[in-house]
């Protein structure tokens, strides 16, 4: 057992490289998904049916389909219509598209629940347009949405593990290659599990801190 773990620690650089990939994919994916989701949520709430309905269809579709299937679609199926992406980019794209839908739902939900009194007051004081949005609306939306986005972030990190199946060198892939090379399955995957647990712990801690800030300003 000790021997197993020492082998894994000797190959820690590989594991950490995988970890870095996981974090990069998740972070970029989440960020882009947030941006895309923001746009999507605007479309969702549009008065025009021809805009709102396709947006709604996309969001609902993402909730019916497994993430891995979407990743496969992007990686294997898109080339047949001329879009060729490497596995890393396909993974990122899948993360962005998949989570844009969830982000749109989160943002839409928060938006609809915004207390109108604060906005009315701001408008009465002369806030309007961009400044109203940036200084009054956006901060409230962000503070309320952070816990839900945090949960989604944990989901994204777990979804990155699926990408090992299309050979993206993230954390689980690294652990798997270490275990197959040195026959140390228990140690390799336990270390991977520990790292996932640590990542989630960090996210939960960050969300907790933001929640405290949000509560103080409620």
């Amino acid at each position: 057992m000790i021997r197993e773990f020492s082998i894994v620690f000797q190959n820690a650089d590989r594991l950490l490289a995988g970890l870095a990939n996981t974090v990069l994919l998740a972070a970029f994916g989440l960020l882009l998904a947030l941006v895309l989701g923001g746009l999507l949520s605007v479309l969702l709430m549009s008065e025009s049916k021809s805009v709102a309905l396709p947006a709604r269809a996309l969001v609902d579709a993402m909730r019916c389909i497994p993430f891995l299937l979407l990743a496969y679609l992007v990686y294997y199926a898109l080339p047949s219509i001329g879009l060729n992406f490497d596995n890393w980019t396909s993974g990122l794209l899948a993360i962005v598209i998949y989570n844009a839908g969830y982000m749109a739902e989160i943002l839409r939900g928060v938006w609809m629940q915004l207390p109108t009194e604060t906005i009315d007051a701001a408008t009465a004081f002369g806030f309007h347009g961009r400044r109203l949005f940036m200084r009054i609306i956006l901060p409230q939306v962000v503070l309320t949405a952070i816990p839900m986005i945090g949960n989604q972030a944990i989901q994204v990190i777990k979804d990155t593990a699926f990408l090992m199946i299309i050979a993206v060198p993230e954390l689980t892939h690294a652990a798997s290659s270490i275990q197959s090379k040195y026959y140390v399955p228990f140690a390799a995957f336990i270390c991977a599990v520990a790292l996932y647990w640590a990542m989630c712990g960090v996210i939960e801690f960050a969300v907790h801190r933001v929640e405290k800030i949000a509560d103080a300003r409620r």
């Binding site: 019916c64 294997y76 399955p185």
Partner: protein, 221 residues
């Protein structure tokens, strides 16, 4: 449908087989995970010593662990420690361990929210704890937890393609295989998507039916 013509009957059959595998394994995981989650939640609720510290640890770790990683751990690590385990068993165990952790949280929230008043009146009438849990609490807690439980079922279904790493051919893997063979990956993927959507639809319908059935004429005026 022209995309379906591009696939042969054999392809469709393999997709069907994959669907059976997906449904069978997911349902097995759910069948274990829902009651197991309840058992853990009850143990937590009753503050059983020692377990009340171990269970939250288990839940916390498993909720942070991807299904793929868990599956690999179980399938490769257990035999290395002497426990021979086949791919199907490993898949069911993986799905079950995962969904049990999430279900535990769902049940726990339902138990905590249950009104103390009803428990007190049951105690005042001399009812024993097993009786109170079984006949007074659970019928109502099941109802409140149902939406969240069904949501978790659909999440488990959507995570089930992870079992491909253990070498099992579920509907996703079947679709990939067909695409690789026919060099036309889009049709089988779209069919697979439709199949998943269909199963999710069945889950949601079943939930609506269960809710309607259990509410009957009980609504508050």
């Amino acid at each position: 449908m022209s995309t379906a013509d591009a696939m042969t009957a054999a392809d469709l059959l393999s997709l069907l087989q994959g669907t059976v595998v997906t449904v069978a394994l997911s349902v097995s995981g759910i069948a274990i995970g829902v009651p197991a989650g309840l058992a853990l939640a009850l143990l937590l609720w009753r503050r059983v010593p020692l377990l009340r510290h171990i269970i939250p640890l288990y839940v916390s770790i498993i909720r942070a662990t991807p299904l793929v990683t868990l599956g690999l751990l179980i399938y490769f690590a257990l035999p290395a420690m002497g426990l021979q385990i086949g791919p199907v068993t490993a898949a069911v165990v993986t799905l079950a361990i995962n969904t049990t952790a999430f279900n535990c949280e769902i049940w726990r929230a339902g138990l905590i929210d249950f009104p103390r008043d009803q428990i007190e009146s049951a105690q005042a009438f001399g009812m024993s704890w097993p009786h109170i849990v079984w006949r007074i609490m659970l019928p109502q807690v099941v109802r409140t937890c149902l939406p969240a439980l069904v949501n978790e079922m659909t999440l488990l279904l959507k995570g089930s393609p992870a079992i491909a790493v253990i070498g099992i051919v579920d509907v996703t893997r079947a679709a990939v295989r067909i695409g690789a063979n026919t060099y036309e990956p889009l049709p089988p993927f779209l069919v697979a998507t439709a199949i998943y959507a269909g199963i999710v639809f069945v889950f949601v319908r079943m939930q609506r039916w269960l809710e309607a059935f259990s509410l009957r004429d009980e609504a508050e005026t």
